[in-house]
């Protein structure tokens, strides 16, 4: 008898890895963006299975709602026809071998390491809020400042007439 949570975990894993493989293998770049969306939703499923409801919500809103849309806009603003001819790099077998070797090393490290484990348990939303906005309030503010500076920088970068065109 397989535990239902394990079945759900395998479904989320299949979504995540299937979407990821779609991103790196598909020829059509718009399909790649949608495969990325599938993969990110799968990660949100993993968050839910780990009882991190808040993070699952953030994942769907920010990644599914914002990042994939921004990537699609980038595809729209650069010319899409170009991507059809942009095949993979000549040295892709080398990249595949490198990735597989890295995977082997990581799995060996995982098997070799034992961590004192408990049962799967989440964090109460109250504890999370206390941690995020009281204990780690200053890093949180710095992160928001970084985001603000990055967005202003992005606007300045793409401004059409900087006088130097």
């Amino acid at each position: 008898m397989v535990a239902p949570s394990l079945v759900l975990f395998y479904v989320a894993t299949a979504m995540t890895l299937g979407g990821a493989i779609g991103v790196v293998l598909t020829r059509n770049i718009v399909y790649a963006a949608f495969a990325l969306l599938l993969s990110l939703i799968g990660v949100a499923g993993v968050f839910l299975l780990m009882f991190a409801e808040f993070l699952a919500l953030v994942q769907v809103l920010i990644y599914g709602g914002a990042i994939v849309i921004v990537v699609l806009f980038a595809l729209m603003l650069t010319r899409i026809e170009d991507f059809q001819h942009l095949t993979d790099h000549r040295q892709w077998p080398l990249a595949a071998i490198g990735a597989i070797v890295l995977f082997g090393i990581l799995v060996a490290a995982i098997v070799d390491t034992t961590v004192p484990e408990t049962d799967r348990q989440g964090v109460g939303l109250e504890t999370l809020g206390d941690s995020l906005f009281v204990q780690w309030a200053i890093p949180f503010e710095i992160a928001s400042l970084v985001l603000l500076v990055a967005l202003i920088g992005a606007i300045v970068l793409v401004r059409p007439s900087g006088g130097r065109e």
Binding site: V23, A143, V146
Partner: protein, 105 residues
């Protein structure tokens, strides 16, 4: 039962797919998407430890707070990278990273 090792292997697999994407793709936007995959692999690893490791409640919460920070920085990084790509496309009319070799010597 789900175990910590399941999440770690999922995380490692996702990260390696991202590495392959960064190395094998030639379009800057696709490389960016592969980087997002790698960041998500890190998040899966963090949530695995936050859920399974024998930590106190405050330490578990810190695991989730770190994921919030990773997502924030990923959003900032993506916005800047997209701006740079659009600028490059306007100046050089390509997003093929093999042709963008201005700083290569």
């Amino acid at each position: 039962m789900i175990e910590l090792a399941h999440l770690q292997v999922l995380s490692a697999a996702l990260f390696c797919i991202g590495v392959y994407g960064v190395l094998a793709r030639r379009s800057a936007v696709l490389i960016l998407m592969s980087i997002e995959l790698m960041l998500n692999a890190v998040n899966i690893n963090l949530i695995g430890y936050a859920a399974f490791a024998d930590f106190s409640e405050a330490q578990r919460a810190l695991g989730q707070v770190l994921i919030v920070f990773v997502i924030t920085i990923a959003a900032a990084e993506l916005a800047l990278a997209i701006a740079i790509i659009l600028r490059l496309y306007r100046n050089r009319s390509t997003v093929n990273v093999d042709e963008i070799d201005l700083m290569k010597w």
